[in-house]
C-alpha cells in the first residue's frame, strides 16, 4: 500500500482517500464476501469498513500497517453485519444441469456444498481466520495482528475451523451423491 496515500488521507485529503478506497475496495469486498457468504451483507460490510477506514484513519499510528488495520475494521464490520441481520440465505453457485458433468466436477459441486454448510456453521471469528490465512495467504502472525488476538488464538481457531470443514467434507452426503452419479 502506498503509505503516502495513507498519510494524506489521514490528514483529511478526500482525494487521497478515494484513491485508497479504490485500491483496497475489491480486496476488502472479496474478503467480506468470503467471510459472510452473502453478497448483500458483504457489500454492506465493505461499505461500513471503508467508512470506518476514513473516519478512524487519524488513529492509525503506523501507515505501513494499513493493510492489517483495514482487515481488522473489515472483520469488525462483518461481525456487525452478521449480528444486525440473520439473512443467511444460501449463496451457492449452481452448475448448469443440462451440461455433461465429469465425475470430478460433480465431486467438486458436492465439495462446495459440503464446504458451504460446514463454513456457515463456523463463527465469524473462525471464518475470518480461515479467509485471511487461506485466501489472502497471510502468515498466522499477520492474521493475529489483523484480528488483534494472540497468535496462539489464531492457531487454535484455524485448527478448529479446518477440523470442522474436514468433517463437513467427510459427511455422508458425499459418497451418496457419488453413488447417485454412477
Amino acid at each position: 500500500m502506498d503509505t503516502q496515500l495513507v498519510v494524506r488521507a489521514q490528514s483529511g485529503d478526500q482525494q487521497a482517500f478515494a484513491s485508497l478506497a479504490m485500491a483496497v475496495g475489491d480486496r476488502l469486498h472479496a474478503v467480506a464476501h468470503r467471510i459472510l457468504r452473502d453478497t448483500d451483507l458483504a457489500e454492506d460490510a465493505t461499505q461500513q469498513a471503508l467508512l470506518s477506514v476514513w473516519r478512524d484513519l487519524p488513529q492509525l499510528r503506523d501507515p505501513a500497517r494499513f493493510d492489517a488495520w483495514s482487515y481488522r475494521l473489515l472483520v469488525r464490520a462483518c461481525y456487525a453485519e452478521a449480528r444486525r441481520t440473520h439473512r443467511w440465505a444460501p449463496n451457492l453457485r449452481l452448475l448448469p444441469t443440462d451440461e455433461p458433468m465429469a465425475s470430478d466436477s460433480l465431486g467438486a459441486v458436492v465439495d462446495r456444498d459440503q464446504l458451504e454448510r460446514g463454513f456457515r456453521r463456523l463463527s465469524i471469528d473462525h471464518r475470518a481466520v480461515v479467509v485471511l490465512h487461506h485466501y489472502l495467504d497471510l502468515p498466522l502472525p499477520e492474521v493475529a495482528e489483523a484480528l488483534g488476538v494472540p497468535e496462539g488464538t489464531v492457531r487454535s481457531r484455524l485448527h478448529h475451523a479446518m477440523r470442522g470443514l474436514r468433517a463437513a467434507l467427510d459427511a455422508d452426503a458425499r459418497p451418496t451423491a457419488r453413488e447417485a452419479a454412477q
Binding site: D26, H29, R34, D56, P58, A80, L115, Y135
Partner: protein, 314 residues
Amino acid sequence: MSTDRDTTRIVRSWLDEGVTALPDRVLDAVLDQVPTTPQRRAWWPARRFPPMNRFARFAVVAAAVVTLAVIGYNLLPATGLFGSRATPEPTPSPAASPMTLHSGTLTPGAYLVTPFGLRLGSDRCAGNPSPSANPAASGCSDPRSDDSTRITLAVPDGWAGIDPTAIWLAGQGSTAPSGAALVFGRGAWLHSDPCLTAENEGAPDIPVGPTVDDFASAIADHPTLDATTPVDVTLAGYSGKYIDLQLPADISACHPYFPWEPGIYAQGPSQRSHLWILDVDGIRIVVQSMDYASTSAERRAELQAIVDSIRIEP
C-alpha cells in the same frame, strides 16, 4: 476420508471462487458519504493549518530568524566576540521566551502550546454524527471555534512533543506500563459506556454543560468511571476542580476505551489520568496528565513539575 492436506487444498480452491470486484455503486456510496463523515478524533490529531496570510508568513519567518539568532548566540563560547554572558539557567522557566512545541524529542526549555487553535478531536459533536452514531448527539460542550489560548510550560530532558499540542516521554510515549503524557482539552460529553466496540461506537451520549462543575460532576457521577471526588484546585492562577481517574485494567475488548469525546482515549490498561479542570476567564480548560503505577517516580515528578510550570494566556 480427507487428509489435512486435501482439506486445505479444497478449501483454498473453494475460497478462490466467487466475487472479487466491489460494485461501483458501493464505492460511490462510500465516497458520497465522506464529505459529511468527519474523521474521528485522533489521539495525535491530524493537523489542518489555516492558510497563512502574508503578514503571518512574515511573522513566522521573523520568529524563526530571531530563534536562530538566540540559539546561535547561546552556542557562542562564553568569552567569544560578544564578551562574557550569563550562565544559562539550569531549570527552564516558561517565563523565558518559549519555543513553539513541535513533534519529536524536545530540548529542555520553555515551550509554547496553542492547543485550541487546532481541532483536537472529532467533529462528531458538531452535528455530523457518524453513520452509526446516535443522531441526537450533536451538542458536545467542546467549543468548535478556534481560539488562541496560549499555554507555556517548562519541559525537562527526556520528553518529546506530539504535534503542537501535547508531550509524552521520549521513546516510551504514553503506552503502558510506564509511559506518561500531558495533553490539553476542553472537556466534553461522556460516553455512558466508554468501552467502544463495533456494536457500541456511537457518539457520546451523556450531556455535559460548559462549566467546570458540569464536567467535574459528570465524571464523578459517571456510573462506571473510577474517579475521585472533585476538589478545589488552583493552577496557573486559575481556579477549578481536580480529579484522579483510574482506568480499567482490562480494556482489551474496547476499540478504544473512550471516557469522553473529543478527548483522549485510554493509552493503555490501568492508565491513570490526573485532571485539572480550570475556569479560564469563563472558558473551561482541562489539563490532563497521564501515567501508570509503573511509571517511575522520577518521571512522575517531572510530569508534575511540568504541570506546575504551566502558564495560561487566554
